[in-house]
Symmetry: C2
Subunit: 323 residues, 2 copies
């Protein structure tokens, strides 16, 4: 059976280069990589994977686990994948659809060292079940969890929502309506808290938070538009929980001839590409850095050289859908 040295001789490169190709670690030029791969094929070299994993204790592969696959998850996944790639890691994404067994199976791969680390976006199992796995390899989560074993890149949306409300107040808006996301989400609760405190500080009557809670689809936005057209006391501003929803709101209002921001201001959340091309005011909260930080945390725990964590913060991006 040929050895790494045989491959190196055949390809005319050093054995360190062959090792880098086999382990997908460090930089190897495209042409060199091809030479090594050709040599591997021609000599029919087959590294003993199990032995290899025991030796390096690494498969250079991270897992991302999520119950769903949606717009904001995608933005985070994207930046995580790029950071992992820049550091020599590939990524496997497990969409569990809330299936607890499937989630445990993915975590089992950490135990058997087929994954080097896991970024848990939306979980299905209880923390008590998942925490046990953290002893087998690093786990980072997006959830707000107080755990010694599992660090989090969660940030509290209270401040972001309050930033939007304060800015609208400054621009003269007094009838502010909130479109909230999923009722069971912590982010929704913290947004409602921010709105409640805002109203108390300005001594105004809050609207019922349930009015437009769970506004997460275009159908729900259509419901809001119908309500807007029929209501007597119209809001002069709408705060949303995502740029995708804000984009629908702006587009549907304008189709009805309602002017944004002259008749009503609209503010998004996330600072995704759609807010840029639609010139929408929004709240940036370093959603990409969040995905990068998750990856950096995993790499740090594995003692890999990596950039410092970047602080995550909220920033108002003023564009053209507010006054």
């Amino acid at each position: 059976m040929p050895t790494i040295l045989d491959i190196a001789r055949h390809a005319g490169v050093s054995s360190a280069t062959v090792s880098r190709v086999i382990n997908s670690s460090g930089y190897v030029g495209e042409e060199t990589r091809r030479k090594v791969e050709d040599a591997i094929e021609q000599l029919n070299y087959s590294p003993n994977k199990n032995a290899q994993h025991l030796r390096t204790g690494s498969t250079k592969n991270f897992g991302i686990i999520s119950t769903q696959f949606n717009d904001t998850a995608v933005a985070r996944i994207n930046s995580f994948i790029s950071t992992a790639y820049a550091n020599g890691y590939t990524t496997t994404l497990f969409v569990t659809n809330g299936d607890k067994k499937r989630e445990r199976e993915a975590f089992d791969l950490l135990k058997s060292k087929q994954l080097d680390g896991i970024f848990l976006i939306y979980r299905a199992n209880d923390w008590s079940v998942l925490e046990k796995y953290a002893s087998f390899g690093p786990v980072v989560t997006l959830h707000n969890v107080d755990s010694e074993q599992i660090p989090s890149v969660f940030i509290d949306h209270y401040k972001g929502h309050r930033l939007a409300l304060d800015y609208l107040w400054e621009t003269g808006c007094r009838q502010i309506l909130n479109l909230y996301g999923t009722p069971k989400g912590l982010n929704t609760h913290r947004r409602i808290d921010a709105y409640t405190d805002f109203c108390r500080d300005h001594q105004i009557d809050p609207h019922n938070p349930d009015l437009f809670i769970d506004t997460v689809t275009s159908e729900k936005v259509d419901d809001f538009i119908r309500w807007y057209e029929s209501t007597e006391v119209k809001p002069d501003a709408v705060v949303t929980h995502s740029d995708s929803i804000a984009a629908l709101v702006v587009s549907r209002l304008r189709r009805k001839g309602i002017r944004v921001p002259e008749d009503v201001s609209v503010i998004g959340f996330d600072n995704l590409d759609v807010s840029d091309v639609m010139d929408m005011t929004t709240i940036d909260y370093s959603i990409e850095e969040q995905g990068k930080n998750a990856c950096r945390l995993l790499l740090q725990t594995l003692n890999q050289p990596v950039d410092e964590l970047k602080p995550l913060s909220f920033k108002l991006i003023k564009r053209k859908t507010t006054l």
Copy 2:
């Protein structure tokens, strides 16, 4: 060791229901599912996974393999995942970043029956390597490949691009400029073919296709905007290869005070959400059906009851960025 029957008695449901929960197949109400899962935990039941896989020959898990993770890939992935889920399957996505070894490792899971089927979006290995795996389980691809073993959901972009050109001609545009995607892509070549034939049919001089080839980032769109401002003979229409790029073009033109469509028409491609909220004319080519068809093809091969394949076709969606 407890049996499925013990779990069923403990949870007060039928053993068929327990089996459905364990195998994630068929519909089970949320409350019933929870009861069964609680019983599994309380009785410490652990189905022998290997025995189970041998028995059913199925893990109810599909793999998606892609070298990249980008906007249009995401739209397809999304509809694949939903269709898989509706049919009782979860999905694992392997982002290989072009790593051939990683891709082969993912295909090995088909061999070891840890995946029931694979949707190959963008490949890293040669077909000769990948075709061998098709005997171990169904593989469907997005690539244009003439293979007995591997069916494809590829569609030829020639017709779609021609549809856009013909429509612009009808609306009176005579100086049509094409922004093309990646130069090595087959889709780009077929778009150029469509433009060449279009010019021949109308006896007009084609512009050099290399003028704005590889227009795939916002920086490249900025280059185009600078060119547009400085050129003497301005185009009266711009055809793009994606809605994301068209959205940037429309937004950047308007920021410069150039009117769309009065000064210049812009047409997108894909019919993604961004074209709806920006009221952009675009070419729909059933990108969601493409993801669904990929999943349906896998399910058919596995003799699962499933909807018929839907024919994929190009359709012009007239909105407000053309005359």
